[in-house]
């Protein structure tokens, strides 16, 4: 519980129906998007309950972060349903619902794959997109191209062989469930996977960021289960392991040691690698530098052996 970081200056609103598993959009003043049929529920309390469509939702946790003056972010957790931020805009948060694997498996949804860049506007990296919105693939593709509706909620990459780069590929999540039943399903599901343009580590292997590891693992499990026979290859966990190798020579460290101002000549990435190198020299083991394309993760994970 992080009630102390709740920002009292912002009002937020949820849009959509919780019960039907649609996407939520959370808007923040002073510039909520005036377009659309947004349903304001007023200020979300940092704890307690709020009402939506006659149903009461108990807030388990509401976490505010500020990535910059105009980049607030919020993680909202309500009972039985987790809502969290995936994309931050100056005036808008886009939220989605995560659900347990069993619920996704029981949903009548689709896996949508696309590497067409304009199908995922504003997404600069290979991204695994998941939404639980009950949707037809055509609709999902339309939603993807629209700036105002975002479907992503977790990050990751998937490598897909031999699919049309210019057309989203849709694969039913649960082929056994027909469309008629999907209308009744409270847990519609769509998986959206963008392929291509992987960030790569120094050895050329795809690198991915795993911000929400437990959930992402379940998504991988799900995709592997569903698409294992359709040439979807999920990359190994993204790691750049510094196994005792030195990125920097002594002279650079010595130069910085003598004049700290030289450190400002490094790029952010080089600074990360420098710290990793120092950890290595300091006796840390299992140093893993995580490649990131957006802030919000952990740059480096290192372990110190107990002595």
């Amino acid at each position: 519980m992080r009630a102390d970081v709740v920002d009292p200056d912002h009002q937020v609103a949820l849009v959509g129906e919780v019960a039907s598993g649609t996407l939520y959009q959370l808007f923040v003043e002073p510039e909520p998007d005036p377009v659309g049929t947004y349903e304001w529920i007023g200020e979300i309390p940092d704890s307690g309950t709020f009402q939506l469509h006659g149903q009461t939702y108990e807030i388990v946790r509401l976490e505010w972060e500020h990535r910059g003056p105009n980049l607030p972010s919020v993680d909202l957790y309500v009972r039985d349903v987790e809502l969290f931020d995936v994309y931050i805009d100056e005036s808008m948060w886009r939220l989605a619902i995560s659900r347990p694997l069993e619920q996704l498996l029981s949903a009548n949804g689709y896996v949508v794959l696309s590497s067409k860049s304009n199908a995922f506007e504003r997404l600069e990296r290979a991204t695994l997109l998941v939404t639980t919105e009950a949707s037809q693939p055509g609709r999902a593709a339309r939603l993807m191209s629209r700036d105002t509706i975002i479907l992503d909620l977790v990050e990751g990459v998937a490598k897909v062989d031999g699919f049309n780069r210019n057309a989203p590929l849709s694969i039913p999540l649960s082929p056994a469930i027909d469309d008629a039943r999907s209308q009744q399903s409270p847990f519609g599901g769509v998986l959206v996977v963008q392929s291509g343009g992987f960030p790569r580590d120094l050895s050329g292997k795809p690198v991915q960021m795993r911000r929400r590891v437990p959930y992402l693992d379940s998504v991988y499990e799900l995709i592997t289960l569903l698409l294992g026979s359709t040439k979807v290859v999920l990359p190994e966990p993204p790691k750049l392991i510094l196994s005792g190798s030195a990125f920097y020579h002594d002279d650079l460290l010595k130069r910085i040691a003598k004049d700290i101002r030289d450190i400002h000549g490094l790029t952010p990435r080089q600074f990360e690698e420098l710290v990793a190198e120092m950890l290595d020299r300091d006796g840390f083991v299992d140093i893993v530098v995580t490649k990131q394309t957006r802030d919000g993760g952990v740059d480096t994970i290192a372990a110190r052996q107990e002595r």
């Binding site: 102390d4 970081v5 976490e63 505010w64 972060e65 500020h66 990535r67 910059g68 972010s73 993680d75 795993r210 911000r211 929400r212 590891v213 002594d250 460290l253 010595k254 910085i256 040691a257 003598k258 700290i260 450190i263 400002h264 490094l266 790029t267 952010p268 080089q270 600074f271 990360e272 710290v275 990793a276 120092m278 950890l279 020299r281 300091d282 840390f284 802030d295 919000g296 993760g297 952990v298 740059d299 480096t300 994970i301 290192a302 372990a303 110190r304 107990e306």
Partner: protein, 77 residues
């Protein structure tokens, strides 16, 4: 003991602000890493330092980084 490191390459006039600390704290929680170290080539705002303490994150500003480098690179001096 596992540590998570976050490195912020900031200019001297751009201290690490509290939002970055919170973001890092959230990332650590997500990864279930108990120990966090936030390294920067700049300094920290007072709020950021306070938030670091709340979240058990070790802030390493440019002075600390410099000393660390000196310890490693110039062990004899």
């Amino acid at each position: 003991m596992v540590y998570g490191y976050e490195c912020k390459k900031h200019g001297p006039g751009s201290p690490v602000r509290v939002g970055i600390v919170r973001e890092f704290a959230a990332a650590l929680r997500n990864k279930k890493i108990a120990n966090g170290v936030l390294c920067t080539t700049a300094t920290f705002t007072a709020d950021a330092l306070a938030e670091s303490q709340v979240n058990m994150i070790y802030p390493q500003d440019v002075v600390a980084i410099h000393k660390w480098i000196q310890d490693l690179a110039l062990p004899e001096s």
